[in-house]
Point group: none
Chain length 207, copies 4
DNA sequence: CATGAATGAGGGTTCATTCAT
DNA sequence: AATGAATGAACCCTCATTCAT
């Protein structure tokens, strides 16, 4: 995995995010990366293997962050939720293209191997959040809530922001081409919104 | 728009939902609908026009329900939110294929015309919910919250359930092929979860 | 199987005979037949299926002749051998391209389906000749000989004439491009040679 | 021409015999020989040159044997025919891969240079046998027969056994993978059959 | 001397669409 | 009104070969 590999993966990532896997041709990728078409097969074997390599490439990063988060033993459950929201929102918005690709691929059937890989990763994230909430419930600070859908809400809200970007750009009057502006604004809004909502949702009310 | 048109649209809907727009060939659609390949071009002009026709076909239905909801003047803001959640969850889960297609299409660029159409519809839904929340805030029963992201949460949570179905089937141990079982279970869970969460999120706490 | 099918098959036959299966591209065939490249897939599904169709097309003819031969009950075993040589030499030299293709395909592995088909046909021919010789042996006019290799000799000699045509053209000083001249000369020579040789080989000597 | 050259040639020989020239890729050869892909071009210049080198490599061996045979002046014409059959059958069956390649290449056009080379070699063999038969005819022990086709029969019968191996394995119930078994059985059968048949064919009958 | 990296050309196949009937 | 036949364009991939190191 050298720099050229990464360069191709990043070109592919952008195109996959914009036009989907099937909407992107190997020629497009080669063109965007400035390499010969045959190079893609030479490096990755096939278009599908390139996709798998992309997932591996980006997931490394993800896994590291999640593990780091999980190992911190000094925090209260709510601290952890807040930290998780911060990290998670940052991570996803900074890799919004990749997350859009994952969501797109998960929704459509395509290759089983790829889908299994994505499910595995997402299921891992699920487990992490689940643990934190369960800990809070054991310590009697979190309510009993629908675990799967609460996590679905966190993921779904962030996913919504990445996959319906064009909608939000219109609603919030952000230039559709201003990647940075969108990311910065949304990072802040998401952090605040999710924390506020989850606090109300999770915390036992002290009447 | 005769019965044969509708039959083709419904076959296309299923395939688009399963394999995406680009992953579905006109041959596939013709095969599934049991009509001649040339028929699709003959009826709809092009594959893209078929997609637009599909959106129009399904959106009619959607718009009707939303307008009906909006016109009911007898309900409190929270009643409306609850009713909206019920209707919305039902509507989306019963048309999950179509919603998945919309989400997929919104995420990828594809044709501008189609994207604009989808944004227009989604923006309409946004406006509806916004009005209800604003009304609740005017009546001092709802808190000040991030309007766009609260609505994003509602939509995103439901979207999550439709687009990550294979993930949820795994987590909840539902047979991936049991469409009905998934829909019924998720309808209930979503209604309960969203109401509980939005109640905590929206309502001003009476200490 | 209309005229266009046959036209493509005959173009393919010539090219396969000249350059082999792998040496001939679908584009070559389409070009030679004067049809669109996509036509080959449209008509035959794949290049390999085209080969199978070609074998079927030519074998129909073969089977008819062999059955006709087999049903004639008026002839002595040696009459039958002579008749068989005549018919067989004619048939192969008039379809020398096809027979060359069969031999080429049988020698290399390629597709199992195709090879099995060819073996089946050749094995059928084997059985026919075997029956005639056995009948002659029962009637005490033919010697005990190596059945498989005697038939191999008949087939091999004819095959040699079709597959090593360029060698024979050189040896016999025939213009390599004079298809008709080669066929006529060789038909005569083969008939005479095989009959003379088999007579000496098969017939019990009356001392 | 060092050991590595020979190693590559032998790997190529096996693959060419199995899958034909066009059916074998340079990658396949490099893989089978355990060398770098670029090595083939580096050593032989091109795939076609490799083929020529292979023919040269194997033909050396062939020519030696044939010359040795030709120089033995102590034998009767029929002794020579018998010896020639023995040597020839052995030689071809022990190099059946190579002979199959030659036949394949002779049948298809491919490169003129290669075909000319093969014709030259085969024509040489022809001349050798021709000389022996002519000698027998001069001594009045051999009949007048079709010289070209009699030789064609010898070559064709052996060629048949090498090129239609899968057919004979089926007919004689030999395991297709048992190279040694096939070679041994066929060597014996061919020697006996060809001698018996040629004796009847060539010898003047003493009534 | 040997090779990993890279490439232009071409491979077979499928695509959405058109058109004569 | 409906369709079978046909097509140009594009698909992903593999080919034999080259070249800098």
């Amino acid at each position: 995995m050298n720099d050229k590999h990464k360069h191709i993966l990043e070109a592919a990532e952008q195109l996959f995010a914009e036009k989907g896997f099937n909407g992107t041709s190997v020629r497009d990728i080669a063109g965007a990366a400035g390499v010969n078409i045959a190079m893609i097969s030479y490096y990755f074997g096939s278009k599908e293997n390139l996709m798998i390599a992309l997932i591996d490439y980006r997931s490394e990063y993800t896994r590291d962050i999640l593990e780091e988060m999980n190992n911190n033993k000094m925090l209260t459950p709510w601290d952890k939720i807040e930290k998780l929201i911060d990290l998670y929102v940052d991570k996803i918005l900074n890799n919004y293209r990749f997350y859009r690709i994952m969501t797109l691929h998960l929704a459509t059937s395509q290759s089983d191997e790829i889908r299994e890989k994505i499910i595995e990763i997402k299921a891992g994230n699920f487990e992490l959040i689940k643990k934190i909430i369960l800990e809070g419930q054991r310590k009697n600070v979190f309510r009993k809530i629908d675990m799967e859908l609460t996590i679905g809400t966190v993921m779904g809200t962030i996913a919504q922001v990445t996959s319906s970007r064009s909608l939000y750009c219109k609603l919030l009057k952000i230039d559709i081409k201003d990647d940075d502006g969108y990311r910065k604004k949304m990072t802040l809004k998401l952090r605040t919104h999710l924390k506020q909502m989850l606090k109300a949702h999770l915390h036992i009310q002290n009447t």
